[in-house]
């Protein structure tokens, strides 16, 4: 018999209790957190869909690896194991371990960036953009047109606009620090990038002599899409597909907190020895020695094992199908969302859900607060709070889309948790017209979404 039900290819070995709360309590918690879920204590959260980063449940094998961590400061055998694993996966000789992905980005973009430089990506994620702009360089997003339209149907909405890239590279000759393909494209809805697109980008970069980098934190999930949607082209294993994509790039940054199924870790992989040496100097200053880079030995051990596990076809089937499960359920209820559903998250279109709230009053923030108040569900705004900028006259230049991301941690929540989320959305749809927007009353200079304070209008 062929089953329609996709079951988890694992059983649960260790559990963590969830503290339940009432709507009245949550209303109070929300107020105390200044209507910013980043400032909520996690023990007041029932289902935490804020991020899939660092929130995975590790396997028994990974926990066993934790016990085998070699904590030597220099030349740890856990490092040797990780090095071999990353070299095999990426085909790149030089690997720099970092405490997490943003440190790898900061080191690489700090070296390649600077005033007058330009970085082009399918879409820069928030910390990536901050790292680039921090050096004085400019970050340009160049997704295909379909990638900017929440309702457009396209199998690879994460693709980069190759025609526009070619024009940009001509326009900015000598100024481009790097072209970065983020797989899958997180800010654009967790949408995949096709192998053909990666090949096209690599070819153009080569012609222009510009480094081509992969932000590969969800490359296993991307490989699933390549295999299933670019089927005439790809017949290898998920791992081979990933290896093929790596072979196109000059370097890669990875936040291992996503597809490497760990709670902490990242790396930078490079082909060029001279570039690697320059980056190594920066690594030692701010991260740690070359053979641990700010990670404990046990975390490197868990990372090496996680990079193996994530390419298991049964795991990837479960992972992609369970995200789709939630997405399709919400779609059936009439919740406006990004389709097709991405790999790691469901992105709700808050602009369409709350058409009466203008972008200047942050409809995404309104939905994030409603989800917490009604269900204790924590999500994250990916819209004008995260990406909006102020014009010289002080008015807000809104983001192109007002999205709310429900990121699904790997191997953590069950189908009944997802049904609970869907049920909360039924109430959200019923009460959508009563919801009002928010005003920012306090914000830092950069990455404001993490610490800003809000008040309801």
């Amino acid at each position: 018999m062929k089953h329609r039900t996709i079951i988890e290819p694992f059983r649960i070995k260790s559990v963590e209790p969830i503290g339940l709360s009432t709507e009245v309590e949550r209303t109070e918690h929300l107020k105390e957190a200044h209507y910013n879920p980043f400032l909520l204590r996690s023990r007041y959260v029932i289902i935490d869909l804020m991020t899939d980063s660092g929130t995975s449940a590790m396997s028994a094998h990974q926990w066993a690896g934790m016990m085998e961590g070699d904590e030597a400061y220099a030349g740890s055998r856990s490092w040797e194991r990780l090095l071999a694993e990353v070299q095999d996966l990426t085909g790149m000789a030089h690997v720099l371990p970092t405490h997490q992905g943003r440190a790898a980005e900061r080191i690489l973009y700090g070296h390649l960036g600077g005033l007058g430089k330009v970085f082009i990506s399918n879409t820069h994620f928030d910390t990536t953009r901050a790292n680039i702009e921090f050096t004085g360089a400019k970050a340009i997003d160049m997704p295909i047109v379909e990638g900017r339209d929440p309702t457009a149907k396209h199998p690879f909405k994460g693709n980069m606009d190759i025609g526009a890239l070619d024009r940009l590279l001509k326009e900015h000759t000598g100024q481009v620090g790097a072209v970065i393909l983020t797989v899958t494209n997180n800010s654009g809805g967790g949408q995949p990038v096709s192998m053909a697109n990666a090949e096209g980008v690599a070819g153009i970069c080569k012609r222009h002599g510009v480094p081509f980098l992969l932000d590969c934190c969800r490359i296993a999930e991307n490989s699933w899409f390549v295999k299933h949607r670019e089927a005439d082209k790809e017949r290898g294993s998920y791992r081979q597909i990933a290896q093929r994509m790596f072979s196109l790039a000059d370097g890669a940054v990875m936040s291992a907190k996503k597809d490497a199924l760990v709670n902490m870790g990242g790396f930078l992989a490079l082909r060029d020895g001279t570039l690697a040496e320059a980056c190594t100097n920066l690594l030692i200053i701010t991260e740690g020695f070359t053979t641990y880079g700010g990670l404990s030995g046990r975390d490197m051990e868990a990372l090496a094992i996680g990079l193996q596990e994530v390419f298991d076809p049964h795991y990837l089937d479960y992972r992609i199908r369970s995200t789709t499960f939630l997405g399709e359920k919400l779609h059936a209820l009439g919740v406006p969302l990004m389709r097709p559903i991405g790999g790691h998250a469901v992105y709700i279109d808050a602009k369409a859900l709350y058409p009466h709230i203008p972008p200047s009053l942050y409809p995404g923030q309104a939905l994030v607060c409603e989800l917490y108040r009604l269900g204790g569900i924590r999500s994250v705004e990916i819209g004008s709070v995260m990406f909006g900028t102020y014009l010289p006259d002080g008015s807000l230049e809104p983001s192109a889309m007002e999205l709310v991301r429900l990121a699904i941690p790997r191997r953590v929540y069950t189908q009944s948790h997802m049904e609970y989320v869907a049920e909360t959305f039924e109430e959200i749809l019923r009460t959508r017209e009563q919801v009002t927007g928010f005003r920012i009353i306090k914000e830092p200079r950069f990455l404001r979404h993490f610490t800003a304070h809000f008040e309801p209008v």
């Binding site: 996690s42 007041y44 070699d70 040797e80 709670n263 100097n281 991260e287 404990s296 610490t451």
Partner: protein, 460 residues
């Protein structure tokens, strides 16, 4: 009964096998590593005394804490536990966790130091000094002269020479000095403590000029233990009480929790100033992670919170320092030249006295560390001319007075028998010291060269 032994206040719960290698294997390994012990693979090391940083054995409670990690991106309960521990045991008001100590140094230096500023301190430390310089500051050493004399038995070689500080203030003006950097204990001086009386006097002096004291507190409990043991009037107080007083005499701190706090990864920045905290909280997101995890897994914050509590217990510190003193006493009895008095986290061999036939430019400490590895598989670290780097103005080697090899003892990891092996190996190398030739540097990185520099032996 008058107890002189320092038996450990724990029993062993989990072990890790050690590799035994032959002399031939080690000779080939050290050559492959460019005679730099940092570049040796750890599986070819028998007793690893490279560092006490991140190498501690955690307690069963800490391992249990690892299982209680709350890996939420924001507002993890382990963060609040850590915040409580820092308040309770160190007394600082505001906490920003970082993945390790240098992460905190990076952020604090960027916040407090303006280009052209002067940062006085009780001797430099490699990463600390570099972050001060990268932020545009210049480090000025204000440690007492005794610290540079390896044979002086002065008990508080970590003390600040207040007259030196007054001269620095007179010369540059208090407004050019964002803070005085105080390390407990002073690593580069051989793990030497600062006295409470000296710190109190320093507080008075800096208070009069409105200058902050920033506390590099990575081994504060060990420093407090030395105060308890050696400083008049302090014998009746607990280590925990003294730790709190030390912290109360300072305005903020950077901590590499990989030392005193008994964890394998972790650090933090702490301050009593709201404005510094706010700025640090914004900056940590760029460099480390959101301010409620700062680049650490939840479980590692939990292990740190528990480790902080364990680290200030008198019984723990007594055994910890007792083990270091055991090895030191043994080496002294053998007539080995070491920095005296023995420091709290390791033994520092005086390579100048050990190898008097070598000039400093032949890297005697580097050569001695390599020789020790070849003899027994014991891995030590150079703390001399290689570590000191080059003068940023002249480009010449900085030539520190101290040319040392550090045998750092990890916490709760090795036994008394391991210490005996180390002592015997040092003795064997000492006996054949005249056969040791120096080294030549064949590769030199730009920053923190000691980590990755490569050498080859000079032919005799």
């Amino acid at each position: 009964m008058n107890k002189t032994s320092w038996a450990e206040p724990f029993k062993i719960k989990m072990v890790e096998p050690l590799a035994i290698t032959t002399r031939e294997q080690r000779m080939s390994a050290v050559a492959k590593a460019g005679y730099n012990t940092f570049l040796l693979p750890s599986e070819l090391v028998y007793i690893d005394l490279l560092t006490d940083s991140g190498t501690s054995a955690m307690s069963d409670r800490q391992w249990a804490g690892l299982m209680l990690g709350d890996e939420a991106y924001a507002g993890s309960r382990n963060y609040y536990h850590l915040e409580d521990a820092v308040k309770r045991y160190y007394g600082y008001q505001y906490l920003v966790p970082t993945h390790q100590g240098r992460g905190a140094e990076n952020i604090l230096s960027r916040i407090l130091i303006k280009p052209g500023d002067i940062v006085p301190g009780n001797m430099y430390f490699t990463t600390t000094k570099l972050h001060q310089e990268l932020a545009g500051g210049t480090f000025v050493d204000i440690i007492v002269d005794e610290a540079h004399d390896t044979t002086s038995n002065f008990p508080f070689k970590g003390n600040v020479d207040l007259a030196k500080l007054e001269r620095v203030i007179g010369e540059h003006g208090a407004e050019r000095i964002p803070y005085v950097s105080i390390a407990t204990t002073v690593n580069m001086a051989g793990g030497q403590p600062i006295s409470l009386a000296n710190l109190r006097a320093l507080r008075d002096l800096t208070g009069r000029h409105g200058i902050r004291i920033i506390h590099d507190m990575t081994r504060v409990a060990e420093n407090a233990f030395m105060i308890q043991q050696l400083e008049g009037g302090q014998g009746g107080r607990s280590v925990a009480e003294i730790v709190l007083e030390i912290c109360s005499l300072t305005d903020g701190a950077t901590m590499s929790a990989k030392k005193d706090a008994l964890v394998n990864i972790g650090g933090f920045l702490a301050t009593n100033e709201w404005e510094v905290f706010e700025e640090a909280r914004n900056m940590v997101v760029v460099y480390e992670g959101l301010h409620t995890y700062g680049g650490l897994a939840g479980r590692d914050m939990e292990a740190m919170a528990i480790g902080i509590q364990e680290s200030v217990q008198d019984d723990h510190i007594r055994a910890r320092v007792g083990q270091v003193f055991y090895l030191g006493k043994k080496l002294l009895e053998m007539g080995i030249p070491i920095v005296r008095p023995v420091g709290t986290h390791g033994i520092f061999l005086d390579a100048r006295a050990f190898l008097p036939h070598l000039p400093q430019t032949a890297f005697p400490a580097q050569a001695l560390a390599a020789e020790l590895y070849i003899d027994s598989g014991v891995r030590a670290m150079e703390r001399g001319i290689v570590s000191a780097g080059r003068d940023k103005n002249t480009g010449d080697h900085c030539r520190p007075e101290l040319e040392l090899v550090r045998l750092t003892i990890p916490r709760r990891v090795y036994t008394q028998a391991h210490m005996d092996v180390v002592a015997e190996s040092v003795q064997r190398v000492h006996e054949r010291r005249n056969a040791i030739t120096g080294l030549r540097m064949t590769y030199e990185p730009r920053y923190l060269r000691f980590f990755q520099a490569r050498f080859e032996p000079l032919t005799p």
